[in-house]
C-alpha cells in the first residue's frame, strides 16, 4: 500500500510543453506516473490545475487531495488495462442501478421529495437523448430498453479514452449515470448533482440532525471528487467532435 502522505521533496513546480502534450516539472525533474511513464496531459488548463495541486502541498504531499493528478495517472497508466468498449459498457451498465431511478414507497414525504427532485432530471435526459428510462420502486430497478442502451453507448463512444475514464469516475462517485450526463451537458452544477445523489441522506439529516465529522466530511469529499471528475471530462474532451456537434444545436 503506498503511503497516503510523504514529505514535499521539491521547491518549484512548472509546466513545459513536450511532444505528447503538457508536462509537469518538480524543480528539474519531470513528474512521472506510478508506472514510471512520463506524466503528460493533453490540455494546458488541466496541466495548470495539476501543477497547482502539487504547488499547494505544504510540508507533506497529501495524495488523497490530488484528485486531478490521480485521474491523469489512471488515464496514462490504465492500470486495469481496459479498452474503450469495456469502459463504455461499465458506464452503461450503471443505468440498471442508477440512484435516481430507484424509488422508495414510504415515508410519504421522501416519496414526494424523490419525485419532485429526480423526475425532472430523468425527463430532461429522456428528451435530450431521445431515450426511455423511467423509475421503479422494485428492488430489481427499472427495466431499461435495449434501444436506450444503444443510444447511450453510441453517445459515449464519441468521447476519447481520457474523457471516458473521467465519466466512469464521476458515475462511480454519484452512483448515477443520469446525474453524470447532467454535469457533462452543463445542465447541473456539481453542488446540485451531489445534493441529488445524496437526497435520501440529506432527508435523514434534516430529520435526525447533521454530524460534522461524518456527514460534512463525506459531503466535501464527494463534492471534491465529483468536481475533479467533471472538470477532467470537460478539459479532456474540449477539442473533440462532440463539442462541435453540441455547439451547433
Amino acid at each position: 500500500v503506498p503511503p497516503t502522505e510523504r514529505k514535499r521533496f521539491y521547491q518549484n513546480v512548472s509546466i513545459s510543453q513536450g511532444e505528447g502534450g503538457f508536462e509537469i516539472n518538480l524543480d528539474h525533474r519531470k513528474l512521472k506516473t506510478p508506472q514510471a511513464k512520463l506524466f503528460t496531459v493533453p490540455s494546458e488548463a488541466l496541466a495548470i490545475a495539476v501543477a497547482t495541486e502539487w504547488d499547494s502541498q505544504q510540508d507533506t504531499i497529501k495524495f488523497y487531495t490530488m484528485h486531478l493528478t490521480t485521474l491523469c495517472n489512471t488515464s496514462l497508466d490504465n492500470p486495469t488495462q481496459r479498452s474503450k468498449d469495456q469502459l463504455i459498457r461499465a458506464a452503461v451498465k450503471f443505468l440498471d442501478t442508477d440512484t435516481i431511478c430507484y424509488r422508495v414507497e414510504e415515508p410519504e414525504t421522501l416519496v414526494e421529495l424523490q419525485k419532485n427532485e429526480w423526475d425532472p432530471v430523468i425527463e430532461w435526459a429522456e428528451k435530450r437523448y431521445g431515450m426511455e428510462i423511467g423509475s421503479s420502486t422494485s428492488i430489481m430497478g427499472p427495466s431499461i430498453p435495449t434501444q436506450t442502451r444503444e443510444v447511450l453507448t453510441s453517445h459515449l463512444s464519441s468521447y476519447n479514452m481520457w474523457a471516458l475514464q473521467g465519466i466512469e469516475f464521476v458515475v462511480a462517485q454519484l452512483k448515477s449515470m443520469l446525474l453524470t450526463l447532467g454535469l457533462i451537458d452543463l445542465r447541473l452544477t456539481v453542488e446540485q448533482a451531489v445534493l441529488l445523489s445524496r437526497l435520501e441522506e440529506e432527508y435523514q439529516i434534516q430529520k435526525w440532525g447533521n454530524i460534522e465529522w461524518a456527514h460534512d466530511y463525506e459531503l466535501q469529499e464527494l463534492r471534491a471528487r465529483t468536481a475533479a471528475g467533471t472538470l477532467f471530462v470537460h478539459l479532456c474532451s474540449e477539442s473533440s467532435t462532440v463539442k462541435h456537434k453540441l455547439l451547433q444545436e
Partner: protein
C-alpha cells in the same frame, strides 16, 4: 442550463481560493500560472452583447466547477485534520463527539459508598 450566478463572483471566489493555497507556500498568488490563466480566460470571454454564448457559459461552468473543487478540498482537509488525522481518540473525547460525558465518581476512581 445550470444556474451559476455572476461570472465576476465565481472569479472572486477562485482568487480567494488561490490566496488560501499560496498562503501556505508564502509566494504571492499573482505569480502563479493558475492566476494568469484564469484572469486571461475570463478577460477573453467577456462579451458585451447580452446574447447567450455557449462558449462563455461553458467557461463559466468549468470555472465554477474548479471553484467547487478547491473549496471542497480545503474544507475536507480541515475536517480531516480536526477529526480523522490524529489517530485514536481517548474515551472522554469519543464521548464528547456525540454530546455525552463520562460518569464522574465523587470520590475518585474506585470510590465505594
Amino acid at each position: 442550463m445550470a444556474a451559476l450566478g455572476s461570472p465576476a463572483r465565481t472569479l472572486r471566489g477562485l482568487l480567494r481560493e488561490l490566496r488560501y493555497l499560496n498562503a501556505a507556500t508564502g509566494r504571492p498568488y499573482r505569480d502563479t500560472a493558475a492566476y494568469r490563466y484564469l484572469v486571461k480566460a475570463f478577460r477573453a470571454h467577456r462579451v458585451t452583447s447580452e446574447k447567450l454564448c455557449r462558449a462563455q457559459h461553458e467557461l463559466h461552468f468549468q470555472a465554477a466547477t474548479y471553484l467547487c473543487l478547491l473549496s471542497s478540498i480545503r474544507q475536507h482537509v480541515a475536517l480531516h485534520q480536526e477529526f480523522h488525522g490524529k489517530g485514536e481518540r481517548s474515551v472522554e473525547e469519543s464521548a464528547g463527539l456525540v454530546g455525552l460525558q463520562l460518569p464522574r465518581q465523587p470520590g475518585g476512581k474506585g470510590w465505594e459508598p
